[in-house]
Symmetry: C2
Subunit: 132 residues, 2 copies
């Protein structure tokens, strides 16, 4: 594994977050100022191809990268923030219901994070006041 690949992998594994290619690039630049975005993409694709990282795609947002340990995600429908959530492994339960071999699955729970819930409530209040 090359030096950049290692650094990128470390960033993803230790960030405790769900970084985009752009965010990884910016962080990597702090220690390696000459690095270029294409290198980040190259390495992300390589790492993903080797199953060392997971790629998370949500409509409306750039792809984000994550560790591969099995877990699920909470996705805030307001702001797009992802949070990890570890639910029991459903593979057996799902496999029993379909007639093809499941390699893995991807489960996202949609919700509103506290901040967006508050924003929505405020919005609602404002609308009601306008309709007095």
């Amino acid at each position: 594994m090359t030096n950049y690949a290692q650094q990128i992998l470390d960033l993803i594994l230790t960030s405790g977050d769900h970084l985009t290619a752009e965010q990884i690039y910016l962080r990597l630049k702090e220690s390696s100022p000459r690095v270029v975005l294409a290198t980040v993409y190259n390495n992300l694709n390589t790492l993903h191809g080797q199953n060392l990282i997971r790629k998370i795609s949500v409509e409306g947002y750039p792809d984000r990268y994550d560790k591969t340990t099995r877990h699920d995600h909470l996705l805030c429908r307001g702001c797009g923030v992802l949070a990890d959530v570890c639910l029991p492994d459903l593979t057996a339960q799902l496999q029993a219901r379909v007639d093809v071999e499941i390699l893995s699955y991807d489960l996202k729970l949609n919700y509103l994070c506290p901040r967006c819930r508050a924003a929505e409530a405020a919005d609602q209040t404002k609308k009601e006041e306008a309709n007095l």
Copy 2:
């Protein structure tokens, strides 16, 4: 609802498939040759905002659109093709495990479609022959 919106919605609901904006555009052009891709996107966004259609995002592929009736998806990891699969509603089961209110969830089962499975097997055979 405008005429285009209606036509686009009909296309999505009756296609029995998971169409991309581009595919919808091409089909719509058959009956309305003057329509433009931006109009398709505009209407898709409107319909999605009204929760009349569902948007499916998979890394490496353009967004696809689908009916909103609750169902899950099989995703072929070889070619990206999506197939519907109707599994029992897991909302209650999931809700019992998390402390936030789940609005909905998104479940994709990764597998290899028969064609890609065959292709992979052939590939494997070829590799083994090369190593004789």
